[in-house]
């Protein structure tokens, strides 16, 4: 059978299925027999294989596995840290509210004693807020914060 007579019956897309191993045994046989006698399809088969190999060997991405692993760590760390802070601050606020309520309603303490206790704890709270604020500002502007020691 010559090329001219086979032109009307090229195997076309089955060539792709053939190089990918996605054809049935019967179709594989059909493609193989066809390519033995059809130069056009034989050449196309080689071209398809060449392009497939080029794509396979191409550098389509250069970001390595470790970078993606770190990305996932970052995501998890950020999420868990956020939840942790939320619980911590919520707990502190509840405890502080309860303590204030207890002091105000405690009839065994005089107004003077309540003022002293309030002053001490209020001062500690102000110091904590002040340090926290400063640390947050430094964290934003510290260019060495991401440097690992």
């Amino acid at each position: 059978m010559n090329d001219r007579t086979m032109n009307e019956d090229h195997v076309g897309e089955m060539l792709s299925g053939y190089i990918d191993g996605e054809l049935t045994q019967q179709d594989r046989q059909r493609v193989r027999l066809h390519c033995e006698v059809c130069q056009h399809c034989r050449r196309q088969l080689e071209d398809l294989r060449t392009m497939r190999d080029r794509i396979g060997a191409a550098r389509l991405s250069t970001i390595d596995e470790n970078a993606w692993r770190e990305t996932m760590n970052d995501t998890t760390v950020r999420a868990t840290r956020g939840i942790g802070w939320l619980l911590f601050i919520g707990g502190i606020l509840l405890a502080a509210g309860f303590a204030v309520y207890e002091i105000i309603t405690d009839s065994s303490l005089s107004a003077f004693e309540k003022t002293i206790i309030g002053g001490i704890y209020g001062g500690l709270l102000l110091l904590f807020v002040s340090v926290l604020r400063q640390r947050l500002i430094e964290r934003k502007t510290d260019k060495y914060k991401d440097v690992e020691i």
Partner: protein
Amino acid sequence: MNINDMRRELAHLGNGAHALAIQILGNSDDAADAVQDALAQALGRRNQYRPERGPLKAWFLGIVRHRCIDLLRGRRPAGGSIDALTDAAPGPEELLELADRDRNLQHALDSLADEQRQIIVLRDYLDFSYAEIADILRVPPGTVMSRLHRARVALGKAYRKYDER
């Protein structure tokens, strides 16, 4: 699958996911953002992954593709050109011939339709089976072979055109 196994496998799939995202979004940085989002989504929805319905690779690439499409809907410029379909970060060992070949491949890929680029990368770069490709692209399994073949023929023609220049 426990979370540590999933994280290990997802990290391993990151490179391929990035390659696919580049083909959809057209540049490496946006693609990296999309993969990062997809990783977070995949970990967040890990209970939805059913191993009996297919490999993690196909499930994750489906998430990546959806994320890319969402990003495209929001910001794709009409008729915008694609800057870099192969990631440009050559190592010191890279040969000049390889660089030229990748550059020609980039031009050739650039000339294809989005769907053609995706199907070629899924099959020839990421080595998915036709059934998995059908699942990821949400197309009937019977159409994968014909689409892939048309895409490969188009890529071959485009590549030869740039190669002869």
